[in-house]
Symmetry: C2
Subunit: 206 residues, 2 copies
């Protein structure tokens, strides 16, 4: 049985532990005082890479920034994120490559041409200091298939306005991109509903 | 030098490889035909757990679903996602626990009371079939600190409407929750801007 004395002791230990934790965290926060546009890469085989990019887009919108989004590879199907974000044309510029995944088109030359067009749109966002965040969804796939030249992409990324954030998603991020990125997360599958026979569903997958 | 013949051969190999890939993927999609509300857990120490939850929320909104959001632990600071999503009160019900992280409060009993209130709100969403997606942001932290009882939480989750999706985020997801979840992703840090002295910034972190 827990007595009032036990609870008081537990509460006090908790308070003391949290006080120490706060001192450590506050010191780390004080040391990390740079404010600058960063490059975030979400890669790996797990879920959440694109959705995290769209979640950061709405964070940026909440802070009054303008957001530019280019969807590479995806785009043959109207997605929930696209339908929702197109409601805010003054705040969000949305460009979808307009083709399915590369195994749907089965046409390398058309894919290369479409990826090139999408990158031209990305470059316009990356040259515009009025855009606070650029989301390059599934760019890693276009790089992995060599539809785009990684050195050109990196040069354009590094020339962007100093305060502009960029979020890049897709499995198989190339090492050159990881090298220049500020924050890189690998999303790993622990389990996936698809394996249990549950199809891709509106709201969760698209 | 690449000759026209080389390019033609490369294009044809690409087409054949993508044709095989499409057959495999189409068969997998045909086998995964169940449509049912799923539980998605985003855990691990990397970035993207909460932002992925908010990205799924906008996917759901784009498909005309209503979304209920409860933010556990976070909430002392107005976040970008909250500011943005509060613009749609007919579509999004947003409840923030209204306290900082647990090392900010240093008060275990107040944290427990606040977590209990937040769970009562979560239960209302989980009992409402009109809500297509429930996002329980940082719930794992409340479970980890035992501010909430994991068995009660799981019982409420399992009793929700059949077609309702739930997204649960936060590091340290308990094994009991992983067991009942349909899709679990672990976000792992490859690198983080914070370590390079860059502070938490509007749009990317909050």
């Amino acid at each position: 049985m827990t007595t009032p004395d036990d609870t008081a002791a537990l509460n006090e230990r908790h308070r003391a532990r949290m006080e120490r934790k706060k001192a450590i965290i506050d010191a780390k926060i004080a040391a990390a005082d740079k404010q600058i546009g960063i490059i975030i890469v979400n890669t790996g085989n797990g879920k959440g890479k694109s959705s995290s990019g769209f979640g950061m887009a709405i964070r940026a919108l909440g802070h009054g920034m303008k957001v530019g989004i280019v969807q590479f590879i995806k785009g043959a199907m109207a997605t929930g994120e696209e339908q929702f974000l197109r409601r805010f044309p003054d705040e969000v510029s949305f460009h979808a490559m307009g083709e399915g995944y590369t195994w749907e088109t089965q046409n390398r030359e058309r894919d290369i041409a479409k990826a090139g067009e999408a990158w031209e749109q990305a470059r316009r966002f990356l040259a515009d200091p009025a855009i606070g965040m650029v989301v390059l969804d599934e760019l890693n796939i276009a790089l992995k298939y060599r539809y785009l030249d990684v050195d050109t992409v990196i040069a354009d990324l590094l020339e962007r306005p100093a305060m502009q954030h960029v979020v890049i998603t897709g499995r198989g991020a190339p090492p050159e991109l990881i090298e220049i990125a500020d924050t890189v997360t690998e999303m790993n599958v622990v389990k996936h509903a698809f394996k249990a026979g549950i199809g891709a569903q509106a709201g969760t997958e698209w």
